[in-house]
């Protein structure tokens, strides 16, 4: 085990740890830890809601989840010598649930959860069709996950961090805040919101001095969206063995990480969508001097996935196009096309006995693939979603015989309030 430079005590809240992390992006959040290029080190990560979500059969916690408190990030980690214009190399040597604890109240202690956020509290990819809050708790055995709330499936986790990134420069932060404010301004009362402005309430800012705290809290960008610094990209393929290259915008790069998932389907479509958990990462870092100009990288991350992600050789796939459920034709809208593909998959799975919510939770959590198929065939984009056949206890292929049925069990808990 490499040295743990950012340890977390599972018995204490995120704000009472020996080293304080952060939940906003701001160039003035000072490094919590310094490492050198070439170093290997361990980092603990807290699950994104810091223990608010419980291992129980109720979805009230999902319905009331405090979105202004996410994500509880570990870092920033200063990489000595990294300068703006460099590329930061981050190797994920290992990543997993909380290693010493396989039982306990904190997600990552042998279990994780997937939630469908209610339309009034965050919403989700299919929020118009699924406006209420639902939850599924998943249990881990080795690298396999099963759920009492979604019976009839078992799969190998594609364990990965949902969120990794470098600190923005002051200019970049300003750009973010200004362009997102402009979007919000187009429809300020929309539910769900178009974007999340800086929010001092609940802000955790690491070692920012008291004197600067209010200002920084008022400026710090929310961590939900991915941006030029990487951030909450929710790329399920960032598994063990992956190498990522991040642009460096501040001295030392000030890299942070969090939001671990035991598994996730492409899109993390239920919003609280992967199997959320706390855990650890073993990282190796290095620097390519002047890498941004050298490789024409002005923004966003580049990565090379590891070669040990779970293999599946048999898939069942659903397609969708950019026509709304109401029959309105949209112009080359891949986002809508993927929604329609996912809805087709959910409708299909419901014929085997799963409720539509169970199917939706499954697509959020299982290693499904979501692909851009056609993006130029005016006016319809075509998107496809691939389900690995082998994760199902029954044979879900279409055929001429009788349709097999699963027992949906207790179902997925639904919150009584929207």
């Amino acid at each position: 085990m490499p040295q743990n430079v950012f340890p977390l005590d599972s018995a204490k809240p995120f704000t009472e740890q020996k080293i304080l992390g952060h939940n906003r992006w701001h160039p003035e959040i000072p490094p919590a830890v310094s490492v050198n290029p070439g170093d290997v080190f361990r980092v603990d990560c807290r699950e994104w809601f810091d223990g608010y979500i419980k291992n129980d059969d109720s979805a009230e916690d999902i319905a009331t989840a405090p979105l202004h408190t996410v994500h509880t990030l570990s870092g920033p980690f200063r990489i000595e010598g990294a300068k703006p214009g460099d590329l930061l190399i981050v190797d994920i040597l290992d990543v997993g649930p909380i290693p010493q604890e396989d039982d306990g109240p904190l997600a990552g202690q042998g279990w994780g959860y997937t939630g469908i956020f209610a339309k009034r509290n965050g919403g989700s990819f299919l929020t118009d069709e699924f406006p209420d809050a639902y939850k599924a708790v998943w249990g881990f055995r080795g690298d396999r996950a099963t759920s009492r709330h979604v019976p009839g499936v078992e799969f190998t986790g594609m364990i990965h961090p949902g969120l990794m990134g470098t600190a923005p420069s002051p200019e970049l932060l300003k750009t973010w805040n200004s362009r997102e404010a402009a979007l919000i301004a187009t429809d300020p009362d929309r539910v769900p919101a178009l974007a999340l402005p800086p929010e001092p309430d609940g802000a955790i800012l690491g070692g920012v001095p008291e004197t600067d705290r209010d200002r920084v809290a008022g400026e710090g960008a929310r961590t939900a969206p991915p941006r030029e610094n990487g951030g909450n990209q929710d790329i399920k393929n960032l598994t063990k063995g992956t190498r990522i290259f991040y642009p460096v915008y501040v001295d030392g790069a000030n890299f942070s990480v969090g939001d671990l998932h035991f598994s996730q389907g492409d899109g993390e479509i239920t919003f609280c969508g992967g199997i959320e958990m706390g855990g650890f990462l073993d990282l190796h870092v290095d620097v390519i001097k002047g890498g941004m100009e050298k490789y024409n990288v002005s923004e966003n991350a580049i990565f090379m996935p590891g070669n040990t992600a779970p293999q599946h050789s048999r898939w069942l796939s659903f397609s969708g196009t950019s026509v709304t459920l109401d029959g309105e034709q949209r112009y080359l809208d891949s986002h809508l096309a993927y929604q329609r593909a996912c809805l087709h998959a959910i409708d299909y799975l419901s014929t085997f006995g799963w409720s539509k919510e169970q199917a939706y939770l499954l697509l959020g959590a299982a290693p499904i693939e979501g692909r851009f198929s056609g993006v130029v065939d005016i006016p319809n984009a075509c998107a496809t979603v691939y389900l690995p056949l082998d994760i199902f206890d029954i044979d879900i292929r279409p055929g001429s015989g009788e349709v097999p049925r699963i027992d949906p069990g207790i179902g997925a808990p639904r919150a009584s309030v929207g």
Copy 2:
């Protein structure tokens, strides 16, 4: 070789063949051929522009390509006994370029092409950045493709039909025409157009009787977009061994197929984007009676990809978010995010010596993967594009050493008119 029920003579235009195909969707286009459930048969397919595009070093043909003439479809094939509400099973037993001819003026005779359509004539996924017409001709050796216009790469083709589908019912056709007309009406003069309305000029309607021809030509839906019947889905994974399930909307299903690609990247991003060619398919068909209700399939195709697509174990990936090049923040727009990811890949590749147009043509033609990564992280969707490392002659991984360079050769031909 199964019996060829739809032979094409490469020396003659599409309209002068023994059996006439079609290039519009309409329920009244009568079956060209009847087959039975369980049958195995061969079908020849003409490349989508019927030979207009040449194997030369000019892009004038791409600039002036007659879009109203596409796609030259083989069919309709009536499957005896298929009824509306059934699911039609289509197995792709084999698919390839024109089998008896590896030399000649017709795409599919040992070669194919990729084009970037000009903004004034079709446009493409990145048409604002690439407004002019470009072409790349690819040569085939076995299942590998190389191009004198894009040197330094070689890859195994993921050969597939870009377009397969069943005939629409009269009601469904009416729905298509009405919803697409409504979209066009929002900006009728847009370039490129928002959608393509029925166009009698250039319509080929198979065996429609002379008396009905004008009416049918005025109603027939264009074949460019994918729709509820499958159609031009451009799913690169429909390779040999794939089984597809199509909704049946008319008696006999009236299945048609065309637009073969030797290879294509996810999205077919240059529009004329796969490696276009004519060729053949060996098909097996069957019917699941009442399959649409049985499996809750109201529209769109379901499929199970074959297990012999080319394997690649090393990838380099680029991400993008839904911010425009001008810095405008859009709300969860995966389409835009994929554009940005592709632009990042193009910028990156240009550091190795390829022109940006060469890189763009490569992404349209090579077996790149385009994935929905995060679709819920307000306001930024995250999309990723994966390039297989092993298709490049040089090592394109980022590193601390010198950047290797390829010789771009004669480059990709550009049309002198936009």
Copy 3:
């Protein structure tokens, strides 16, 4: 289609074709066809028994198969400029059953066969346990195979040539004959024989002049064993897309090919073990000058498999060690260990309803993997055989529930004479 330089007429025997092939290795067999480095060409191949084995429900033909007539090879192909000491590059651009014919009496016309050779006529890997002759006929649909004689399984073929190689030099031929004669001499009456000496009866020698025929027939090496020139290696991984490097021992290399298999398990354990068929290959050839010394290759082929072989992600594996069925301990004998592993697999499969002969035929034909696991752990070698789970209609995994059963159907035909 590349030019067919070695066409075969399915209606005529191998000896009455326009170009005569051969069934013995000898340096004096003159080239049947000349090609140049860089050429692409097609070659037809006859199934190894030239049509002796029928598509019927009897195994009499297997019991009496004329072993002295094999293999009916296409070639030799002279590659201009190739010299002893060079490496010959052969690319398998495509390979498949007889392309124009999917129905007929000749294996390769839509069907193929697997046989267990009787102990008195060739024997097999498990000949002591399976001394009688059995046959299974497989039907092809696209690249999938099924058999009325082995129901309950279906798999994608790993189509490949069982036999490819270059001509031996006079010295090399002498070495072969002398070392094999020495082996035979140790037990000349053994059944099955230890090796097959030159056999003038049934020898086909291409264009050898009449005056030399008797001498060459008396010297020509049999084609059954693989040797320094490649030859009958029966490597199932030589599928489409594979590049092989052969040592060149005579001017022009004089390359020959035959013994196509629609599929085969590692080892081809029933002897007549792959799914035997005639068909075609599209080849590309080239030469590495002085390649043998350059790469320290004194003998035997090197190859790089293609990347489109069928993918399977779930396997059930059986192990064996080098102890005989009678309980005798042998010293590090991987051959015996693999026999024991195969017997374990056969015993296991028999609990699902297949006869042991059906299971044996299946292991010969399906894409099973046979691996050397431990070869140094005195005194027991450990070998393993891997069965892809997805080729079975039923779930053959061990578990606590009831064992599913297949209907063995008419079973595998057995010959009444041994």
Copy 4:
């Protein structure tokens, strides 16, 4: 982390641990720990020589390695309720090097080793060609291994236990001893020995009472060979996620495990051949009542590999046949054929600058595949060895250009005494 039921203190020798393991097979070795069907638990394992081999640049330790002391096994683990005739299910939930320690003198503390045993002390697969002792030390970074003694390669480990098995019944033990003694008797003075008889010197027998110790030590079977109980199978594919089924021969099954490898090539050809290390396993166990008769399993293990083993899509392969280096023809000897294939690979690799010993050590440690290709083509078996291209820093494919060279560095240490 599941509960560690068999902890080991790295600072103490194997015989001074809280729970004592064993290094012989005997039915009377009492369970060290009891678990229940369905339990999940952690087990620590000591490297097989208990720390005798050092992380240094000398091979004296390999030359003098005390073979009578291996393998230091963890266990036996009694599974409550398991009875003779049952099948024991063992799931490898996780497996890795010593988790809390990445630096230290014990293999597994961030490093491991591969050795070529000298002919006088154990020998190896190619002992006639490599009679001296050599060593390579490998360093771990995450799941990748590199070696200062074998530069120019890096690969992802296929971490697995080399040895797992159930205790033999008294009858089975008697069978082992008697058949192995019979083999030894055929050539008692052979070097290396034909088999290893029971050896009281160095025997570790767990909780065997003092009164029985001498007798049990005189009867206990050596752990080097794999046998009916599984044992030292050295199957590189028993990675994380693998499920194994073992025959149960005694009440409680009395399962033991050890000999962890960070990686290994098929065959473990240098004898001390994988990358040897200590570490941990997380296991889940269960029982199929009466499974041996139910599934016709009389002996040996069955297994289903996990789906996260490292993927490689490009391979370079070498073949061999059963002719000795002296030119003697052997009869269908796959063991010899694999030796010849490995020698061909070693000869080939030596042209790039590696010494033959470096190449041999590499083949023992890297995830190479060894396959039975043809086993029936009288008189030559054909075996093949596959090297993944992507583990090499240079491009090792044969071609017409110049041969790239690596710097062999300090080379692999060789022992001064044989």
